[in-house]
């Protein structure tokens, strides 16, 4: 789930042109990465029919694990892409807010910019 989530995020960010959180420079690479990561995970969910073969599904536990995996995937993506793109994206001035800013700068650079603004106001 964690690996699949990272793959899906990569494909979606690449499609949306959010270079700051994409690991790849080309869309095709991101789509291939999604196929490699999310593909096997989806196949395993597709074929995994015998799980909890007797009784009620532990929905809550399952949901918590899934949420944890998704949150970890987002955290990993933000951190890894920031390190990976630290030198190639050198944004000192973040003009927009939210994800739009991540077209030009990495997540860490954007957060640093925000932090500096807050500090200057103080």
């Amino acid at each position: 789930m964690l690996v699949a989530s990272i793959g899906v995020i990569q494909a979606a960010t690449s499609f949306s042109g959010l270079k700051g959180i994409s690991f790849f420079n080309y869309r095709v690479s991101a789509y291939l990465f999604m196929l490699v990561t999310a593909g096997p995970a989806m196949v395993s969910f597709f074929t995994w029919n015998e799980r909890n073969a007797t009784g009620v599904i532990e929905g809550r536990e399952q949901f918590c694990f899934f949420m944890l995996a998704i949150v970890a995937a987002i955290a990993f993506t933000l951190a890894f892409s920031s390190l990976l793109k630290h030198w190639s994206l050198r944004g000192n001035d973040v003009k927009t807010e939210g994800f739009e800013a991540l077209r030009e700068v990495t997540f860490f650079q954007a957060i640093r910019y925000r932090y500096n603004i807050v500090m200057r106001r103080r």
């Binding site: 789930m1 959180i21 597709f46 009620v56 929905g59 800013a101 954007a110």
Partner: protein, 193 residues
Amino acid sequence: MITIDENIFLWINGLAGHCAPLDWLLQRIANDYFVLVSLCMILLALWVWGSNTKQRDKNQRGVICASLSLGIAQGVVSICNIFCFRTRPFEVLPTNLLFYQPTDSSFPSNSVAVVFAIAFAIFLANRKVGGYMLALAALHAFTRVYVGIHYPFDVFGGAVIGMGIAFLVTLAVRKLEKLFDLVMNLARLLYLA
């Protein structure tokens, strides 16, 4: 009503067991994870998907509504199960059972309620993607009857509960526009939306 329900069940479930590859395929679509995980992956993609802020904002509203609907649908089904217990069709009718034997109440279908809640919430925000998700949810509902673990009325009830909750949640989010905007602006300040 119950007789009609049972007759439709027997007809749909009677289709099982004639074509092994089709049984195998529908058995997999009926499983507890595949459709739900697929829809959750689409939600994750929709959060960042969009060529501009406006489009992304619309998608993100849908994702938040879908996530809330998912949780509430699960809760409503759990409450329904306290007051109403219906035995599974394979326990009372001659069934081509292609699945494991769940022990909880047959009505309403929990998994169908959840997938319809997610799909309909997205449909209200993004017709195109939501349409595909609803089609997947409908296929999941059909396969639950096909494999012999739900009556048609169970999945119909689950779908109605799921869609009703998604509609109400979307309505509530629209009414609480200011609170919602506040949350979204905070997320944007932290570059998370």
